[in-house]
Amino acid sequence: MTFHWAWAVVFLPWIGAIALAAMPPRGRMPALVNLGVSALSLVLALVLLAQPYGVQGWTRTDALNLPFVLLSAIVGCTTAAFSAATVDAEGFDELRARAYHAAFQVFMGAQFLALLSDNLGVMWVAIEIATLASVLMVAVHGTPSAVEAAWKFFILCGVGIALALFGTILLYLAAQPVIGAGDPGLSWGALAAVAAKCDPGVLSLAFVFLLVGYGTKAGLVPLHSWLPDAEAEGPLPINAVLSGLLLNAALFAVLRAKAIVGAHPEAMAPGPLMVAFGLASLLLAGFALWRRRDARRLFAWSSIEHMGLATFAFGIGGVAANLAGLLHMLGHSLVKSGVFFAIGAAAQIKGSQKVADIGGLARSHPGLGWALALGIAALAGLPPFTLFVSEFSMVVATAAAQPWLLLPLGLGLLVAAAALVTVLQRLCLGAPTPDNPTEDAFSLPGGVLWASIPTWLHLVLAALLALAAPAGLAAMLREGARVLG
């Protein structure tokens, strides 16, 4: 057994978590250590990107997961920076500060493992660990509403991942007569290779359980209702990792399952089911966006919408639509976590996260306000950001494959975009509402500016991904889209 960088990416955050749990939380130390570990993870992820593809026991590196590993490392790093800038205002006591920082790194390690794992059992365990860590982060304030939100999150996702485990068992059952007993029966590479010889009935049943199970964690309708509560009640920085990373990891697990089941011509086609889940999420969220009064809930609903869009694209299938789906996942993570940083900072300035209490940010705090405005415009699918490119190619691919689906897709896109533009006007333009800063908010030198840098960084990355993606990354994404079939 030789060392591989993939394991370093997974274990570094976990070692960091142990250190953060053991360390006495004095002053800014935990936040800075957290940032340091995240920055080191980003370096390791870049090193991993330079390694050749391969399988290392229970993990694998391929064109499908490496872009997401890099994305997770970037978002993890900026979230740690934002967290260092805003954590004072959360008012943690010693125990909570320890629990929060340690849970953050446990989550990051589990996120990397979920993306990198080749063994579907290991992937399941990783997603479970990520769930436990994020439940802890949601509940960390201990207020009644935070505990209720964490509880709902826990129970719904508990059912979700239980169903996913059943689906995993069924996948093994399908493969066992072909592959034989033992570890290869759960290996994604081995399963994808032999899928065409497996029993189609068992594969179909497995896919249904995996889609519903992991789909719950990806925030797909009808089991989405944990997401808005969890987003609204946890500490500000965790919004970025919940929406930006956890949902991706769960949808990624669905994609791995789709690649296996889709390889068998007689098994149930995964496409129509994914299209149905995707459209249901898009339409429900599109209309729900109009009724939200709480800004963080509103953007949580927008995550449901975007995960629905990505699922829809993968359901349409084919290289072009898959590529659009992968780009959409990457773009959504970057933009949404950036928007959550900005809305978090705005909530601390205004002392409220109600849409009605936050207004005119572009006039009162131009750096922050314009970042938020651009972010919301990007979420609405306006150019020049990645989400415009991915939604456009999604529409083109749909028109080529199933033109009648353009009707619900277009309706959902328009309704959601109109809702977001309305919100943009309310939050960013018009007359500013009075400031009422939370105690200890922005105690760092530079204050609000420091908190808006991560948002700008994410917006720049999202624009670069659309306009000038590095050739290597583009080739990698195209190859990943081909793998998905």
Binding site: N119, G121, V122, W124, V125, E128, T131, L132, V135, P144, S145, V147, E148, A149, A150, W151, K152, F154, I155, G158, V159, I161, A162, L163, L165, F166, T168, I169, L170, Y172, L173, Q176, P177, G180, A181, G182, D183, G185, L186, D199, G201, V202, S204, L205, P228, D229, A232, E233, R291, R292, R293, D294, R297, K354
Partner: protein, 225 residues
């Protein structure tokens, strides 16, 4: 269908016993009786896992069995009982759907899972595996039914844990399943965390507010009066 091989019959008997206990869970009217039924289900599950370990010659399954008996038949029921006793919560189960309709729905779900699993696995897996899988899927669905039709937190948690019992029953029945010990342990960690959540909840004295109606208030999104 073969009769008379003890390996087959005993595996069936134990799997069927786990399913029977899922029905028992559904018609209890007192929470302490629900906890007892859950403990018996855990013990039966452990026996089923140990028996599968014996007939498959897989030593790892004995570990699963020991973990199941210690955690599910002893420790978790004791913890739940402790919560009930300490906070004087000898309350009745509050079903959202009456006992009669619940049982009817349960019978329909068992029929559904048999109809789903048996045809698609026909001629493919061993008979033992496919029928145990039908039993496991029934236990999973009944666990979900219990979560849907019961209002208070302890009943819902027990529903989730009995759902997880169904998963373990399925995992041990599939010959040569890799990582079965690791997966069952990981699933158990989740359940222990859920029970831990109940204890925390209980201390906060808000167990009965698990109705989603409470969340609507916390959400601050009810339409203006």
């Amino acid at each position: 269908m073969t009769f008379g091989t003890p390996a087959y019959d005993i595996a069936h008997l134990l799997g069927g016993g786990v399913l029977l206990l899922s029905f028992v869970l559904l018609y209890q009217r007192r929470i302490d009786a629900v906890i007892n039924a859950f403990a018996v289900q855990g013990a039966l599950l452990a026996a089923a896992a140990a028996w599968q370990g014996y007939i498959q010659g897989a030593a790892g399954l004995y570990v699963t069995a020991v973990i199941a008996v210690v955690a599910k038949a002893v420790l978790i029921p004791l913890a739940l009982r402790h919560v009930l006793g300490r906070f004087g919560l000898q309350r009745a189960v509050e079903p959202a759907l009456g006992v009669g309709p619940s049982l009817l729905a349960a019978v329909a779900l068992v029929g559904l899972s048999v109809l789903v699993v048996l045809p698609i696995t026909a001629g493919q897996a061993q008979a033992l595996t496919r029928e145990d899988l039908a039993l496991a899927l029934s236990v999973v669905l009944l666990g979900m039914l219990m979560m849907i039709t019961r209002r208070n937190a302890i009943s819902q948690v027990i529903g989730l844990m009995s759902l997880e019992n169904g998963l373990i029953l399925g995992a041990v029945a599939v010959t040569g399943m890799p990582l079965v010990v690791e997966l069952s342990t990981a699933a158990l960690v989740l359940m222990v965390a859920v029970v831990g959540g109940v204890v925390v909840f209980q201390i906060r004295g808000r167990l009965e507010t698990l109705d989603t109606s409470f969340l609507h208030r916390a959400r601050g999104e009810e339409p203006p009066a």
